[in-house]
Amino acid sequence: MNERPPASRTRFGVGLLLGLVVALGGGWALLRGARAQLEDDWITRRAIVAANALGALVGQAPDDAAVRKAVTAWQETHPPGTRVRVIRGTTLEASTEPADTGEKAAPRRLAREEKPLYDQAQRLRAGVDTNREGGAPKPELEVEREGGARRVAVPLEADGKVTGMVHVLVPADASTGRRSPLQAVLLLFGAMLLYVLGAWLLPPRAALLAVASTALFCLAAAFFVGGELRALGLAERDGQRALAGTVAAEVDRTRTLTGAATLDGGAWDTDLTRKPRGLITGAGAIDREKGEAEAQEIRRRALRSLMALGALGFVLLVVVGFGGANRVGRALVSNRQAYAYIAPAIIGTTLLVFFPFFYGIALSFTDSNIYNTNLPLSELWVGLRNYGTILGDFGVVRRAADGHWVFNYLNFYWTFLFTVIWTITNVVWGVSFGLLLALVLNTKGLALRPIYRVLLILPWAMPNYITALIWKGMFHRQFGVVNQVLAIFGFEPLSWFDRPFTSFLTALATNGWLSFPFMMVVSLGALQSIPADLYEAARVDGASRWQQFRAITLPSLKPALVPAVILSVVWTFNMFNIIYLVTAGEPGGSTEILITQAYKYAFQRYQYGYAAAYATIIFAILLVYGTIQNRVTRATEAL
């Protein structure tokens, strides 16, 4: 079999083809999605204009009858699918829903199964109130999708107070055409044609072919991006015009219904917090600057994604062109059995172990939180800000006005210090107590040894979350056993979780209880493997027991104890369950270790980006620890 690698002509040709397919095909698919999204947003925006106009109209109505009249009149001027409901408290004031006729005609009390409507009105009112007080912005209107139609709920205001809710169903309007893939296909064929011609004319030298295919790739990509961005801009302008049209129409209708002279229709084009976006001026025209800025933003976003795709396509071109793909392909084919065996495990861990890890690191550079999880990470990029906030804040203690020292327990360095103290105390306790027990249990001829061994190992066998909850119960202020014992000896009962030190002691007691058996078992195993003649020889030489321990026992324990200590440092450093379940960080986060603090940032304060940065720092600390540990171990082994 004579398997010659394909010539560079073919390689660069295939590379160009694949690169272009990825860049142009991917770009086309991406823009199609982006435009569908854009159109979707315009529909929502027009529906919001209509809902806000209606809200203003109903808000002006002096009494209930006028409300119903206004709603009926408004309905008549709108397309047939439109539906309106006005809700005040638990009353349905007006409705044009076909279901609300006959017995169920407005005005009436809301039925039990209509509670979601009542809840929604309450939500909106709470949103308006919160925003007036100046908290974190909350939505003041809600939009639901129903196929192409939109259900918009806006608060109903009278004299500056929210009195109810207007709920409008705006039917879907005709969709504009989709952009065809023609341009992308033509560019692809054009570029390939030129390449074939060129490759046929030029001498088959790799460098020359690389330059030619790169130039063709860039040319095709540039044409594609230019054309598509222009089309996107046009689509955006159409959307803006349609919105201006909707605003003008609503202004006209309201004017006919109320006879009002001046109306600021532009103020109806709002975001979810009912802040005017300012695209439409009071006169109903498009604000040129604002419109251009909106279009610019959309083009910028599209361009960024297209650039990423272009880079991917180019990498493909280079890899295939210079034969990288060929080599990988051959390795795959000749080792196909091995790869087939590892493929399932590799795919699984890639998706759910490695990808989450790198995604988490990417997340640490963003401002991701519960309010913006739907945005792509690139929109939330804040660079190293999270790391700066975490590591740059040294305000662990400050002096209060009355001269007391006040600790900031949320500070990273406090938590870090606490974690270090926590780890050291636990490991020291585990090693010393475990070793002591192992030495005692190793005594020759001691009765009941197997029974002691099993009973002493019990804490390790218990699931640690159960241990944690048991100890939490035993440290209970009023009924806990620990306080009863204190009382027997005449001490006052303690509120264990009210002070950082006592709270730390509860966690230490719990973890100390469950961690020493591991060290005990490890040491016992090592002790039993020490040959007895070593001690015999030492005794013959007249060594004391302490000398025997120093010269024989400790060195023989080292190979087993060192890895066990390394392992137990990492375990304790990351001992989530004990801290989370026993102290829960009480009081005030003072007994939080790094890993539980990161968890709280993520799942109680919902600052995903910040929590990811926190966890990345933990990883870095462990990595540094691992490296140093490795060096030290190697160095001591060499001695």
Partner: protein, 294 residues
């Protein structure tokens, strides 16, 4: 005898006194939870104290022996409370994850042990490094992937996938270590008789590796059975809780049902404690061997 000299120095009764004291320390919390479970009440006090307790009353409240025996906590935690359902969830998740995880790990470990291929070292190293990833860092993306992208929040299959994949790196290291000790001569003989790698793996290596596979499977099962954080994060609906999340539900927040918690804890712990006591010698050698290699 080697130890005779030392035995003369320390009288055995001192050692026994020390060991008994330590045993009381280790066994007391276990007896406490058994007492609460058998008390038939939800209180975490062993005995009710009178208004002006004497030392004797207090000593009674510390002694881990219920004032009266009742099995009502065990019965009602399995019938009135959804605890049986949570146990079932835990069992399904732990068994499912074990089967999937060990199956994937076996094939991968075999390839890592027997084939030479580009990326072999890199693969093993990245599996090792992945053991250092802090759980909290991967928990957020995992939550996004499982709950928001795949829509598998509050489902058993979501948890099975997560547990199975996260157990793979450790299992592969354990199994590869064992496969390496199986002599290659057996396989070479099989190759002479015309068996392919698939047949060799299935009918020679796997049967020989049964003990290692059993141990790996049991570890994997125990990890799934005891896991708390991920289950607490992914399982929102009460009837999809696993046993650990459910037990914490009994005594977390505003709930103070210590009787149910204690009875449930005992039911959950018995199988794993027995398994653990049976497996402990493999556990130690497995763990320390793994970290020595690292």
């Amino acid at each position: 005898m080697a130890g005779s000299h030392r035995e003369e120095r320390t009288p055995h009764w001192i050692l026994h006194a020390f060991l008994v004291a330590t045993v009381i320390y280790t066994v007391y919390p276990v007896l406490w939870v058994i007492t609460i479970a058998l008390s038939g009440k939800q209180s975490l006090a062993i005995a009710d104290l009178p208004a002006d307790p004497t030392k004797l009353d207090r000593a009674r409240a510390v002694l881990p022996w219920p004032t009266r025996f009742a099995f009502s906590n065990f019965i009602s935690v399995m019938t009135d409370q959804p605890f049986a359902r949570w146990m079932l969830n835990s069992a399904i998740v732990a068994i499912g994850a074990t089967i999937v995880g060990v199956a994937l790990s076996c094939t991968a470990a075999y390839a890592f042990s027997r084939f030479k291929f580009p990326g072999r070292r890199f693969g093993m190293m990245s599996f090792l490094v992945s053991q250092m990833f802090p759980g909290t860092l991967t928990l957020i993306p995992l939550y996004i992937i499982i709950v928001q992208w795949l829509g598998l929040g509050s489902t058993l299959s979501g948890l099975v996938i997560v547990y199975a994949t996260t157990s793979i790196p450790f299992s592969v290291w354990m199994l590869k270590g064992y496969f390496d000790t199986i002599p290659k001569e057996l396989e070479e003989a099989a190759v002479m008789e015309g068996a392919g790698p698939g047949k060799i793996f299935w009918s020679i290596v796997l049967p020989l590796a049964k003990p290692a596979i059993a141990i790996t499977a049991l570890f994997s099962f125990m990890t799934g059975w005891n896991e708390f954080i991920q289950a607490a994060t992914f399982m929102d609906k009460e009837d999809m809780y696993t046993a650990p999340v459910g037990l914490r539900f009994f005594v977390g927040g505003f709930q103070q049902q210590w009787g149910y918690f204690a009875a449930g804890s005992i039911i959950v712990s018995i199988p794993v404690v027995l398994l653990f006591l049976y497996l402990q010698k493999y556990l130690v050698s497995g763990l320390t061997a793994g970290s020595v290699k690292g």
